[in-house]
């Protein structure tokens, strides 16, 4: 079984001189009741590197998956090299010369590099066995494309499990290239690569362009887009809003197209900003993928953590709380050096952490609302007896301040809605009287009413002198609540937004890699 252009598994349309490489018109895609794509349009010329841009959830991944045959469009038409197509499976798209780089890596860690690259397409001997000599030689040739930037250990026989994230990404790229596609879709293919690897990768794409290969390039790094691409298509809320020549535009214009009308309403306003001494200071802290993060947060302040998802915001909050301890740098609390090696250390110092991942991080499944509420207080106050007689009314009072709806404290936590459960987990910490509240995407998956209640309370807490560090995957929430925003990219803080730069435009521009 093979899908290479030399020996197609399915009859391949002969390339015609007419028509662009890809022409997607009025593509609609619904997942159940949710419309992911309302009007997706994309035209990619032959031998063109075409950027596809848009904020998280704008539909660009959905559109590329439709082109690659992973999803079927609900409506609309797709022409590949001038011929209308309707791919039922990725194999059919592959047979038509289309290859997709998967954002979620599709490698199998316990297998070798060579086995991964040629999985299901291994060169065969006459007898039908896998031709290991050719397999190794062809893999060598592919790895050689990256030259010395591939780093030590990237050999045909190395196990993918033993590679660095950057090397795994190279293997995934080589897997795409090994199919010799005429159309390639690179969805976030540079995310884990270093600068030298990116430069080599771009040279490879340019060489393929010279050979007539068309590339759809999806990246969160605008400077890459402007360095590499010929044209750009911008999407917003499931619709294509612009198709421009890179030479005719600039980064700021593209950012404006991505975010649409900049919203201003609902901003937190503070009459007076007390110039309080910082409560927590982090000096060049790191660990895991976090690098050299320096920050300070004062009592009464709401410090926002912004940027694209997964750039280290949660890792920092978990690090400050000791859940995934920081390994580098220094922390100071009230100016005094502290070491936080486990959540217990943080709790003892009045630090609280609310995770957005309720099921994994917070729910004591099968236990009562009372037990779920009491968990942190019992630890913080070093109680030996529970003392439910006095504790229950106290916890009920805290839960009520958040407008938590429940029938009785003895009811199981599972009887509550997601929003009410999250209120319980916030109340759990409020009862400990925290001085620093770490909020890790606290409103994930809860309804609007509950969100409004939560943020009203968070502001109230800040006004009463609690220091708050907030990460939210919803940009509007972050902008509305934060006094300042640190923008994250690749595990580091790239810029700080405050005052006049605290708006959607600057946040998006900074998140997409242009440190303004």
């Amino acid at each position: 079984m093979t899908g290479t252009p030399e020996t197609p598994a399915l009859p391949m349309p002969a390339p015609t001189p007419l028509g662009p490489a890809i022409e997607a018109r009025d593509i609609v895609k619904r997942f159940g009741a949710v419309q992911a794509l309302g009007n997706g349009r994309l035209t990619v010329g032959r031998g063109e590197i075409h950027a596809l841009l848009g904020a998280n959830g704008c539909g660009k991944s959905t559109l590329s998956k439709i082109i690659a045959g992973t999803h079927a469009a609900t409506a609309g038409s797709l022409l590949i090299e001038g011929r209308p197509v309707r791919f039922a499976t990725p194999r059919e798209a592959e047979a038509a010369g289309i290859a997709l780089f998967y954002q979620e890596l599709s490698l199998i860690p316990p297998l070798s590099v060579a086995a991964n690259i040629f999985l299901g397409r291994e060169p065969r001997t006459r007898a039908g066995f896998i031709d290991r000599t050719r397999l190794r030689a062809e893999t060598e040739a592919l790895i050689a494309l990256f030259g010395d930037t591939a780093g030590p250990g990237l050999t045909p026989d190395a196990l993918v499990a033993d590679l660095t994230p950057g090397q795994r990404q190279i293997v995934e790229i080589l897997k795409v290239l090994s199919k010799s596609p005429r159309i390639v879709i690179m969805d976030e293919a540079t995310a884990a690569l270093d600068a030298r690897q990116v430069a080599v990768f771009f040279d490879i794409l340019r060489a393929r362009r010279a050979a007539g290969v068309s590339t759809v390039f999806i990246s969160h790094r605008l400077d890459e887009v402007f360095a590499l691409c010929d044209r750009v298509t911008v999407m917003r809320n499931g619709e294509t809003v612009a198709d421009l020549c890179i030479a005719d535009t600039d980064q700021d214009s593209v950012v404006r197209l991505m975010i649409g009308d900049v919203r201003k309403a609902g901003r937190r306003t503070r009459a007076d900003r007390p110039a309080a001494a910082p409560l927590l200071q982090a000096d060049r802290v790191g660990g895991g993928r976090l690098r050299d993060i320096t920050l300070a947060v004062a009592p009464g302040e709401i410090l926002g953590l912004g940027g694209l998802q997964g750039q280290g915001q949660s890792a920092l909050l978990r690090g400050l709380f000791g859940a995934d301890p920081l390994t580098a740098g220094r922390l100071r609390l009230d100016g005094q050096p502290v070491r936080i090696r486990a959540p217990a250390d943080a709790v003892a110092r009045g630090i609280a952490y609310v995770s957005g991942d309720r099921v994994a991080d917070a729910v004591l499944a099968g236990r009562s609302i009372f037990e779920n509420l009491a968990a942190a207080v019992l630890v913080r106050e070093r109680r030996w007896r529970v003392g439910a007689g006095t504790l229950a009314p106290r916890l009920a009072g805290v839960a009520a301040s958040l407008k938590t709806k429940y029938a009785g404290l003895d009811d199981a936590i599972g009887t509550l809605s997601g929003g009410n459960q999250q209120k319980v987990f916030i109340a759990r910490w409020l009862a400990t009287g925290p001085r620093l509240l770490l909020l890790d995407d606290p409103t994930k998956g809860i309804d609007l009413g509950a969100k409004a209640d939560l943020f009203a309370l968070i502001r109230q807490l800040a006004d009463s002198g609690v220091a708050i560090i907030l990460y939210s995957s919803e940009e509007a929430e972050l902008l509305d609540q934060s006094d300042r925003i640190l923008v994250f990219n690749g595990g580091a803080v790239v810029t700080e937004l405050s005052g006049p730069t605290l708006d959607s435009f600057h946040l998006t521009r900074a998140a997409y890699g242009d440190a303004a």
Binding site: L378, V379, L409
Partner: protein
Amino acid sequence: MTAPSLSPSGLSTGSRLATLAASPLALALMAIIVLLGLGEMLSPGFARGDQIIRLLTVAALLGIAAAGQNLVILAGGEGIDLSIGAQISFGAIIAGNVMNGSDAAIAHAILAACGATFLVGLVNGLGVTLVRLPPLVMTLGMMAIIQGGLVVFSQGIPSGNAAPALMGFINQPALLGLPGILLAWAVLIVLMGLLLRRTALGFAIYAVGANARAARLVGLPVRAVRTLVYGLSGALAGLTGVFVIGYTGNSFISVGDQYMLPTIIAVVIGGTSLAGGTGGYVGTVAGAIALVLLQSVLTTLHLDFWGRQLIFGGTLLLLLALYGRQTGPRV
């Protein structure tokens, strides 16, 4: 608002089967009544007062050992203690040697037996929490080590025997016609209730069993809690060993082996989830009594040890299959 109560909150999920299974305590109590009636039918006099006290004495031995199993299972992480049987033998042999028939040495015997088994239990706990061995493997290995060790050191013939006062405590009426061991069991039931419902440690055991990650994120010492429950399980097995030698007069190498599987069954009958985090000791007490009754009825039917073993194993699997059907959380 009221304090958390012992009552399971009614989360019935429709079907009668699920409703029945959702209240294992009621199921166990029903089983007790049915078994008593059945026993009386098969062998008149089965349900007589002195007979019931004799049955409860046997149930107390199982129930005290099952308290430890209960704590280990509640704390989750696939927690289970397969070394309980061997630790009962260990405790019995230590107690027999320390007492050697002397009433004056009973307190020393209890301390020595419980102390030694507590330490063995802590080793189980450290193997599970620090070395990260699966509890099944850790405690199974410990069971083999203890059994082998007892044979090697005693050369197969354990010395020592019970003090007369201890035998009287188990077998003679002490108060209101009840032997001392039943009073001791009653005290343990109260202590377990206080531990699990009134102390922060009890809450921590439930929290760790319900969601270890969440427990860690509120600052609970998850490993310490899990290590401790194995220690307590060891100490309770040691105590059971002391009572067992008081019940039989002297001990033999494998005197405790027959308790291992029944402790698990009693806990499961009582409604404690093998996944941890839900259940309690009152159910386990009912489970222990039901199980001893079942054993007694089967003996009346002249079923030998292996026949009873067959029924026990089947009962355990049937109950797990039955309880596994319910989807909602159990409180």
